[in-house]
């Protein structure tokens, strides 16, 4: 990853700075969530870092990585713009529009729409993955309960739980536990919830479900679960930990390297899953 940062800091990308900043911010946020490294140690020039500085990644590779990220995460317009500006051949992924639509629907809590769209794209996905279907329906229940907020009319939520989730809960102890937990939301006021229950109402649950759905679709079409860059980040983490366990000479802390530059003014808004670029 440090090579990536090197390439970035060298302004290797001669694309529209606005797009670039947005992409950086976006990458950073997503990747930070995966690696919980946030400390800031003072850099005492380490041998390792000088070696890192010498490595130059080809620009085309970096661009391809970014395009791959945009495609896999489901940003069709950004991908199209980016590939135009970076003069990359745009790849055709028939599912990208649908994936974006589905993700959006989930992020806005419109699960029914998401399920219909998913079935339209490929009905096999839900048919052959009961767990994914359960998570989606559970999220739908959460949204229904969120709608009741305080218990004015809990009948639709109860009906839904009985007909849609109840039959499935017996199939696996995990499902049962999840369902029970979700039903607790009906009982307790939403303002003072256990952390465990509060998590259900947190947007992270939507985000997580949206990611699961996106990955399931990707597995079907490309037999890859995630963007190559995520894979690289994981590989880096693995490499670092195995190097440390073997007591290799490393700096105490290696930056992920995406925070370089002075773009502190870009705030990492929580709602970043909305389309980044509106053109």
């Amino acid at each position: 990853m440090s090579s990536l940062s090197a390439a970035f800091s060298l302004e290797a990308l001669d694309t529209n700075p606005a797009i670039r900043d947005l992409i950086f911010a976006h990458l950073r946020e997503n990747i930070d969530r995966m690696t919980s490294s946030a400390s800031t140690t003072t850099p005492a020039k380490h041998a390792f870092e000088t070696r890192v500085a010498e490595v130059k990644a080809p620009k085309s590779d970096i661009n391809a990585l970014i395009l791959d990220y945009l495609m896999m995460e489901g940003y069709p317009k950004a991908a199209a713009n980016f590939s135009k500006e970076a003069k990359l051949q745009s790849q055709h992924d028939p599912s990208i529009q649908a994936r974006q639509k589905i993700s959006q629907a989930i992020h806005t809590g419109n699960i029914e729409v998401a399920i219909t769209a998913l079935n339209e794209l490929n009905p096999e996905i839900l048919d052959k993955d009961p767990a994914l279907h359960f998570y989606l329906l559970r999220l739908q229940l959460v949204e229904l309960i969120r709608g009741t907020n305080g218990g004015n009319n809990i009948i639709p939520a109860l009906e839904f739980a009985t007909h849609q989730l109840g039959p499935r809960a017996v199939m696996s102890p995990e499902f049962l536990k999840d369902l029970e937990l979700t039903m607790c939301l009906l009982i307790f006021p939403h303002e003072s919830l256990d952390p465990q229950l509060a998590a259900l109402l947190h947007p992270d649950l939507r985000r997580q479900t949206a990611r699961q759905v996106n990955e399931a679709i990707l597995m079907r079409t490309t037999s890859r679960r995630e963007a190559a860059i995520r894979h690289l980040v994981k590989m880096r983490a693995w490499a670092e930990s195995s190097a440390r366990s073997k007591k290799k000479d490393l700096p105490d802390h290696i930056e992920l390297g995406l925070n370089s530059g002075d773009d502190n003014d870009i705030n990492l808004d929580k709602n970043s899953h909305d389309p980044m670029i509106t053109t």
Binding site: E120, P123, L126, D127, Q140, F160, P167, M171, S172, T222
Partner: protein, 1021 residues
């Protein structure tokens, strides 16, 4: 998603005025049922299937009328016309209903869904989305069928529906599309996986090969070679020269699945030399892998080879290593090995497995362990040197390279293809060593790596995690692949043994008998429980098996195959096998409804077959064994029985006799054949089980089977009878002959039953189709079932390439076609097959007589000789024996119908000659009167005189035996007669011939025996 009441959707759908209405209704319905098993149940009960089929049929016919303006945009997704959208939704619904599992199969078949779906798989007529969805529906139905209670039948009927020429053309078109669209890749994967799951029978394999599906798959494989950049250097230049350059494909597109392609290829070529050759000769494969010598630019690569050659560890020069060889590590070859030499070393006990090739190809090919050998040797002798010149295709080293450089299922399937090619004899003999060190150990490791713990939740679930499913697929397939690879090679068996394969496979078999949970799969809870009551007219069938069940049964079969294949040669391995305490598991595998394997001390009570057989009830914890498992277990028994010590200990202790005995009366003829094979060794002289089997009435059953119409069953039962009458008391011998009926025995050894039957059949067909009676070639070609002359699809099918016409001028293609025609002739000519069947049965019949009149005591022999003379007629017997030694012309008057190469002249087979001589040997070992009788058969003796120069060592040895016996002097009273006999023999010129053997025979044993005989002849002068 609020719960929509059912009738509105239904009425909306039925009353739809426009396509758009219909689509909307169908979409709503789709959201209802996808992922909801209960809703699927409900809707099937509401007769939704019928409506769907109606939609498919009506909208399709209307689209037909609408013309075909959409044709030609093959492979590119496009927006659908309204009626196509309707059909797409209907197909999606069907696919989703099929996902509900085996219980939906009944209703799906009842409405005739299969033809309705199949009419949508034509890629030239339908948009790719529709084709894809239709294939998905088929695939889901196949998945459900494989979990059905009668999965074999369900899959077979599906295969019969799919593998007919119309649809095969569609499959070929799909596979040979050069579109890179993701949709098309998924279509291709689905077609390949359908082939893998459904193709189990020889005629389907042939149909797929002849429809060009094999070539299309081979092209896909070639695409992977191109993708990996491993095309032989210079292939393009060579291709330019002979017109194959255009056949070099593009690299494999994204989304193509290598493991599926390999497995589909391996499914099609398994068990046939001809089809294996079709793969090698497939234009794309020939184009990327021309056989040329290659000198690497870096000299040091070559140096290692040269060093090995200098020390005599490789014969490079003979091999001309291709470029691909340099991808493999160099393997020192200590001595050239070959399959045939090993078979020759095998003790001629008379039941080498190669005989099993006689078993008709009905069952799954892999149950025949070495069906290859006979065809191999046969055609090798047929084609002589012409074939030996053919250099090995670089595909073989490339596949070995692939085994080494891939993992998981790809590795197993690459090995599977290479195993087929190796067994078909298309690999260099030195490859055996390479396979032993480069392929067998990784395969064993593969099984070990994927033998993971299955948690209880998965055990009891209808849904299996993809990673677990991948593990299972590997565990189910790899042992069978390994089995095919090692079955005929002692060296490879050793390699597998040293990699721990035996222990591992025993564990697999034991695991497959771990009791399964007896609880039914969890059914979804229902919010209105009273619905269960009015399920009287529920049209949804019973739930099928759980995935774990299918997995265990498949693993069982695969493990048994590997066990049998590991122990064909070495007693040492048989011993190691028994030490694994595996016999109880094999015994249970003999039973259609196994129970808990009975370990060590808890010896099973001696069963009696006379006990009333209670209807077998399946024990849900152990499942029930399909015929394929039973047959595989019979093979293991047969091979274990080859060891006398096993017969007396392990097999006896575990009460093998009665389970096998029961199988003799199994309704399936293939099982009967396998059981007869297993019984062969249980009724031998050394077997403690013989008595029990005789008491149980085995004589009667075997004799009945000897009257069977099935040549395989006739053969194996005669084989068993032959062993049974060896060294028993005369009463039993007589009982056997009585039961068999002497007239039938004469027919068995005399007539060419199969050949006659075939001839009669052909004649009848000719009379039936009287249209062009004067077509002389008709009979010869009648077996080409339908297509008179076989056309190589690679040569004649319309290919996507524009330059297809150049194919037919390519020298390499022409040469390949010639080779394929020869191979096809060797493999599928029914005359040849019938003749081989007849000869094998005659040999057993003659050996049966030989054992009838054989030892134990001279007096009993005399009695039996007289008895046999009495029963069969003395003169007739001698006449039959003489006829077996003559060159025979079959159907002399029908010759004009047979083409020249299929000569109908039969030269006597060494094995038959040997059997005839030994009958005479036994007669001559009896009293002088019988010796005299033999001597009196001048004609017979004259014929025998011609075989002193036989190439077969056993024939020469038998002759020495015979002469020794003929001039044997019992006591002084026989003196004069003995001299007369010697006189007679000298007159026939036997002395000179014996002296010839004594001096010049290559074998010491023969020289010694000849010496003794010469001495006797001279003494009695």
């Amino acid at each position: 998603m609020a719960r929509i009441q059912s009738p509105p959707i239904l009425s909306r759908m039925r009353g739809a005025r426009s396509y758009a209405d219909q689509v909307a209704a169908l979409r709503a319905l789709k959201d209802e049922i996808v992922g909801h098993v209960q809703n699927k149940d409900k809707w099937v009960e509401l007769n939704i299937l019928e409506s769907l089929i109606k939609i498919l049929q009506s909208s399709y016919s209307s689209s037909r009328l609408g013309g075909k303006e959409v044709r030609g945009q093959f492979g590119q997704p496009r927006s659908l016309a309204d009626e196509e959208e309707v059909r797409l939704q209907a197909l999606q619904l069907l696919a989703s209903l099929a996902n509900g599992g085996p219980s939906f199969l009944g209703p799906i078949h009842a409405v005739g869904a299969i033809p309705a779906i199949l009419s949508n798989i034509f890629p030239l007529e339908h948009p790719p989305q529709l084709v894809l969805t239709a294939l998905r529906a088929l695939s889901n139905i196949a998945d459900a069928a494989s979990l059905a209670l009668n999965s074999d039948d369900a899959l077979r009927s599906l295969a019969d529906n799919l593998f007919v020429s119309r649809y095969l053309d569609a499959l070929y078109t799909i596979l040979s599309s050069d579109s890179t669209a993701v949709l098309v890749q998924e279509q291709k994967s689905l077609v390949a996986s359908l082939v893998i799951r459904l193709c189990r029978e020889g005629h389907h394999q042939n149909a797929l090969a002849n429809a060009g599906v094999l070539d299309a798959l081979a092209t896909m494989l070639a695409e992977f070679v191109v993708l990996r950049g491993e095309v032989v250097p210079g292939a393009e230049i060579i291709g330019e020269a002979d017109g194959l350059a255009d056949m070099i494909p593009n690299p494999a597109p994204r989304g193509a699945n290598l493991a599926l392609v390999l497995e589909a290829i391996s499914t099609i070529i398994a068990d046939s030399r001809f089809r294996a050759c079709m793969l090698l000769c497939s234009p794309a494969i020939m184009a990327i892998f021309p056989s040329t010598e290659f000198s690497p630019p870096a000299k040091d690569t070559r140096t290692a080879w040269n060093a090995l050659e200098m020390s005599g560890l490789s014969n490079l020069r003979a091999k001309n290593p291709s470029a691909v060889d340099y991808l493999l590590p160099i393997v020192p070859v200590t001595q050239p090995r070959s399959l045939s030499s090993q078979l020759a070393q095998f003790p001629p006990l008379g039941f080498s497995l190669s005989r099993e090739s006689l078993a008709p190809t009905g069952q799954t090919g892999a149950t025949r362990f070495s069906g290859w050998t006979s065809t191999r040797l046969d055609s090798a002798s047929l084609n002589g040197d012409a074939e030996a010149d053919d250099p090995e295709s670089p595909l073989i080293p490339w596949l070995i390279h692939l085994v080494r450089s891939t993992s998981g299922l790809e590795r197993a399937m690459a090995a599977s293809v290479v195993a087929s090619l190796f067994k078909a004899g298309f690999a260099n003999p030195e490859r055996e060593v390479a396979l032993g060190v480069l392929v067998v150990p990784p395969l064993c490791q593969l099984i070990k790596d994927h033998d993971n713990y299955v948690d209880p939740a998965t055990q009891n679930s209808a849904f299996v995690e993809p990673s677990m499913a991948a593990d299972w697929a590997i565990l189910e397939r790899t042992p069978a692949v390994l089995a095919r690879l090692v079955a005929d090679s002692e060296f490879l068996q050793q390699a597998a043994f040293e990699s721990g394969a035996l222990k591992m496979v025993c564990k697999l078999l034991k695991d497959s008998y771990e009791p399964m949970s007896t609880q039914p799969a969890p059914r979804p809870w229902s919010p209105n429980p009273d619905r269960g009551a009015d399920r009287g007219d529920n049209r949804v069938g019973p739930p099928g098996r759980l995935p774990i069940y299918a997995h265990k049964i498949k693993t069982r079969e695969s493990a048994l195959k590997l066990i049998a294949a590991m122990v064909t040669f070495k007693d040492e391995y048989r011993k190691a096998l028994v030490e694994q305490e595996i016999v109880p598991y094999i015994v249970e595998s003999l039973s259609p409804v196994p129970s808990k394997p009975k370990m060590g001390k808890e010896k099973p009570k001696p069963e009696r077959a006379t006990e009333p057989v209670e209807p077998a009830v399946e024990n849900p914890a152990y499942g029930s064994n399909p015929n394929s498992v039973i047959i595989a277990a019979c093979h293991v028994m047969r091979i274990l029985g080859r060891s006398v010590s096993n017969l007396r200990t392990a097999l006896e202790d575990h009460g093998v006799a009665m389970p096998v005995f029961k199988l003799l009366a199994h309704p399936d003829v293939e099982v009967q054949i396998a059981a007869c094979g297993a019984v062969c060794n249980l009724v031998t002289e050394f077997s403690p089980m013989r008595e029990a089997l005789v008491d149980a009435g085995i004589v009667k059953i075997l004799c009945e089977h000897a009257h069977s119409l099935n040549p395989g069953l006739r053969l194996n039962s005669m084989w068993a009878l032959k062993h049974l009458v060896h060294a028993v008391d005369n009463n039993l011998k007589k009982q056997c002959l009585e039961e068999l009926e002497s007239g039938w025995l004469v027919q068995l050894i005399c007539d060419d039953t199969e050949d006659e039957a075939l001839h009669a059949r052909v004649r009848m067909e000719r009379r039936m189709s009287d249209v062009d009676d004067d077509d002389e070639d008709m009979d010869a070609l009648a077996y080409e079932d339908g297509t008179r002359v076989w056309l190589w699809p690679a040569m004649y099918l319309p290919a996507p390439s524009l330059f297809a016409s150049r194919r037919s001028q390519s020298q390499r293609m022409l040469k390949a076609e010639k080779k394929l025609v020869t191979l096809r002739e060797a493999e599928f000519n029914p005359t040849r097959k019938a003749r081989n069947d007849d000869l094998a049965i005659q040999e057993q019949g003659l050996n049966f007589i030989r054992n009838l009149i054989g030892p134990p005591t001279p007096s009993s022999m005399t009695e039996m000789v007289d008895y046999v003379f009495n029963e069969l007629g003395q003169d007739r017997l001698f006449e039959i024996l003489a006829s077996k030694l003559r060159v025979k012309v079959l159907h002399p008057f029908a010759r004009r119908y047979s083409s020249g190469r299929d000569s109908r002249v039969l030269h006597p087979q060494a094995k038959v000659i040997e059997a005839v001589i030994y009958i005479l040997v036994h007669m001559a070992a009896s009293i002088p009167r019988h010796r005299q009788l033999v001597i009196a058969q001048t004609e017979l003796l004259k014929l025998l005189g011609g075989y002193f120069s036989s190439k077969d060592i056993d024939v020469r040895r038998a002759l020495c035996h015979l002469l020794n016996n003929l001039v044997w002097l019992d006591d002084s009273t026989d003196n004069l007669a003995c001299q007369q006999r010697a006189q007679e023999l000298r007159k026939l010129g036997f002395l000179a011939k014996l002296e010839g053997l004594q001096q010049a025979d290559s074998d010491l044993d023969i020289r010694e025996r000849a010496k003794a005989a010469v001495w006797q002849l001279k003494v009695n002068h």
